[in-house]
């Protein structure tokens, strides 16, 4: 058997633009390259000279799929630098808003982007002809997440209500109670989602990943926590640079990341789950075990199951927050600018999102650095392709191409974020 090149010219069902090149020689995958050709938008440059209060609004525009993640990392960085603590109901409301984004983004990926790979359809719209009830459930579940974001944020894409120090306006207790019924339905739908995806056919694959995710002492990580790894790393967001570095390859417009003196690492649902299983709600833990997921999962194709567990958790957690909610006295804590450096790290649906800013005394941004999850996952995606595609090389060209795409989509790559992402080219010589 000779040499072969798999080429996916434009990877579909991912958010953004990227291409994939896999080189095969004598039946062995020699290399896999994920190349992002999303045009750069230069956020870290255009943020310079802006006011610190504008960061939640401007950085949200990096990604229409996970704007809340950008807002949360930005406000955390500002507040830590300015010595402000956002606590009590305001802190819980931010967690609720983030739950909404997880439910919306994960449901989008599970039903619209990833399930069609497992069931053999080009899109969820085609899938709806045979699996209409499932697709309608997925859309309704996604809507439940969007309703949280609309209520708390004003709208689901680029919410307007998040500010440094808290919110512009906080909801009344009765506003949130209206969400309760919908979320109870959503929690049940999330459970059905988990049972549905658990029946899919999963390729037999596992690797010894380095997982990196936040750890929050008492809760599953969302909007705060220390940065931890499966190799024992335990640091604050301000120490990120001592342990991780970005680098740049000519073939891609996205910067990449690696562990200093180390290599690729994996972010996102699989990492969070493996490092934080015991911090899931009792219901989420119990249901995960029932469908055959233990406290550890190293098969990246099963990430769709883990995503479903996280949707279940997010619904459960959202309900808990709504029930315990007490209206705060003020929508925000006052903030005064001063010179300094601030760090923010939160768990975007796709994984750890790191922000760093330097402010001058008047509150103007002197430097900004933003490291999105997909750029950090790129190297890991390439390693997965190199290791897992070898067994599929006898598949017909189209099926092989499809398997490559599915492997990339395990990561729910968000390419708009990463530019700073898919065409597949399979080179078999």
């Amino acid at each position: 058997m000779g040499a072969k090149t798999i080429n996916v010219g434009y990877l579909a069902r991912v958010e953004g633009e990227a291409a994939l090149k896999v080189v095969v020689r004598d039946g062995v995958v020699r290399s896999a390259e994920l190349n992002i050709f999303e045009p750069p938008r230069f956020f870290e440059a255009l943020l310079r000279g802006r006011d610190f209060t504008e960061m939640p609004d401007i950085t949200a525009r990096i990604c229409g799929i996970c704007p809340v993640a950008y807002q949360m990392s930005a406000v955390q960085a500002m507040e830590s630098m300015l010595g402000v603590t956002v606590d009590g109901p305001l802190r819980e409301l931010r967690r609720l808003l983030y739950c909404g984004e997880w439910i919306g983004s994960h449901s989008l990926h599970i039903y619209m982007l990833h399930a069609p790979d497992f069931l053999g359809y080009a899109s969820a719209i085609d899938m709806a002809e045979d699996h209409g009830d499932a697709v309608r459930r997925g859309l309704e579940l996604k809507r439940a997440g969007n309703e949280i974001m609309s209520l708390l944020g004003g709208r689901e894409i680029h919410p307007v209500n998040v500010r440094v120090g808290g919110f512009y306006r906080t909801p009344r207790k009765r506003d949130l109670e209206g969400l309760g019924e919908k979320l109870k339905w959503a929690r049940d739908a999330a459970l059905k989602t988990l049972e549905w995806v658990a029946e899919f056919d999963f390729p037999d694959a596992a690797r010894d990943y380095v997982f990196v995710a936040l750890k929050d002492p008492d809760r599953y990580p969302l909007a705060e926590g220390r940065i931890a790894s499966s190799q024992g790393l335990d640091i604050t967001p301000s120490q990120y640079h001592e342990h991780f570095e970005e680098y740049h390859l000519e073939r891609t417009t996205a910067l990449r990341s690696r562990i200093r003196d180390g290599g690729a690492y994996l972010l996102g649902p699989l990492a969070r789950y493996n490092l934080n299983f015991e911090r899931l709600s009792p219901l989420a833990q119990e249901k995960a075990r029932e469908v055959g997921l233990g406290p550890a999962c190293t098969n990246p194709y099963r990430s769709i199951m883990v995503r479903a567990v996280e949707v279940l958790y997010a619904c459960d957690e959202a309900l808990r927050i709504i029930e315990a909610y007490e209206e705060p006295d003020q929508p925000a804590v006052p903030v005064e600018p001063r010179a300094g450096i601030g760090f923010g790290a939160t768990e975007a649906p796709r994984g750890l999102l790191y922000h760093r800013y330097r402010l001058d005394a008047g509150g103007t941004i002197a430097e900004a650095q933003i490291v999105p999850p997909t750029s950090q996952n790129q190297a890991c995606i390439e390693e997965d392709l190199t290791q897992f595609i070898g067994g599929s090389l006898d598949l017909p060209e189209d099926a092989l191409r499809h398997r490559c795409e599915q492997t990339v989509r395990n990561y729910d790559p968000c390419i708009s974020c990463a530019t700073h992402f898919l065409r597949l080219e399979l080179d078999q010589g």
Partner: protein, 260 residues
């Protein structure tokens, strides 16, 4: 199938953007399957594999033109599209990435990338209408999904979309909000900003920040006097017009009156 009975072909294209506006189509959870039933979605890579080549009855275009390759690609899309509608602030005014139009893009590349020489980009981020004729521009950062459904419905039956070119103030009054500027002294771009969002920001006790871009006939210099009286200096005034629609002509002009 004959030409008269075939379903209209819809295509969704992406240029430099955050994907939020095309996500609005997937966010039409209750209408999505009905839309998919009324049209052939011929090209929508964010949501489907595969592509039907050929001509499209309606192309929705998201994003701005920032590379030489994209400047060529939009010409091809225009030639193959009977109707072309831009969706969102990037496609309609260049987006937040048009802040490079006020700066030196080489300096921008050097700030972000270790190897700026690897980056191929144009000096500017420009609206789709700067490159090809556009049949309708839907405003917003992001667009309002209800307005998107209206635009698709209108083009399917061959009428103009019923989208108001009034200001956010009109929506705010219709909603019965108390004016945040008059009552609370909160600076607000509502008087010069295109309607469509349903006055979200004032409904959340903050001033409008102009993400739908300029209304049809804005009087920005007059608003600026009011904003200055509320304590905004030239630096703040330059910034407030220079966000997601910074390169829309009337916002550009007003920001330049107060800044560089």
């Amino acid at each position: 199938m004959s030409a008269s009975t075939r379903k209209p072909r819809l295509a969704v294209w992406k240029f430099a953007s955050c994907d939020g506006c095309q996500l609005s189509l997937l966010d039409c959870e209750t209408e999505l399957l009905a839309i998919a039933g009324a049209v052939d979605i011929a090209y929508f890579p964010e949501a489907m594999r595969g592509e039907i080549r050929g001509r499209y009855d309606l192309s929705l275009v998201e994003g701005s033109i920032t590379t030489a390759h994209d400047a060529t690609r939009i010409q091809d899309i225009r030639q193959r599209s009977d109707r072309l509608v831009t969706i969102g602030a990037c496609a309609t005014a260049g987006g937040i990435q048009a802040l490079r139009n006020f700066a030196d893009v080489r300096e921008y590349a050097a700030i972000v990338y270790a190897r700026p020489d690897y980056i191929k980009t144009l000096a500017t981020s420009t609206a789709i209408a700067d490159h090809v004729p556009v049949d309708f521009e839907l405003r917003g950062c992001p667009i309002n999904k209800r307005q998107l459904v209206e635009v698709i419905s209108a083009f399917l039956v061959g009428r103009r979309p019923a989208i108001s070119p009034q200001s956010v103030c009109m929506e705010c009054k219709l909603k019965g909000n108390v004016c945040v500027m008059v009552a609370h002294g909160t600076p607000c771009l509502g008087p010069v900003t295109h309607a469509g969002c349903n006055a979200i920001c004032p409904s959340y006790d903050r001033g409008c920040y102009g993400c739908y871009g300029p209304m049809e006939t804005p009087n920005a210099p007059s608003l600026s006097k009011w904003l200055a009286a509320l304590g905004m200096d030239d630096v703040a005034l330059e910034r407030v017009y220079r966000t997601f629609n910074a390169d829309a002509p009337s916002f550009r002009k007003e920001s330049e009156r107060h800044g560089r």
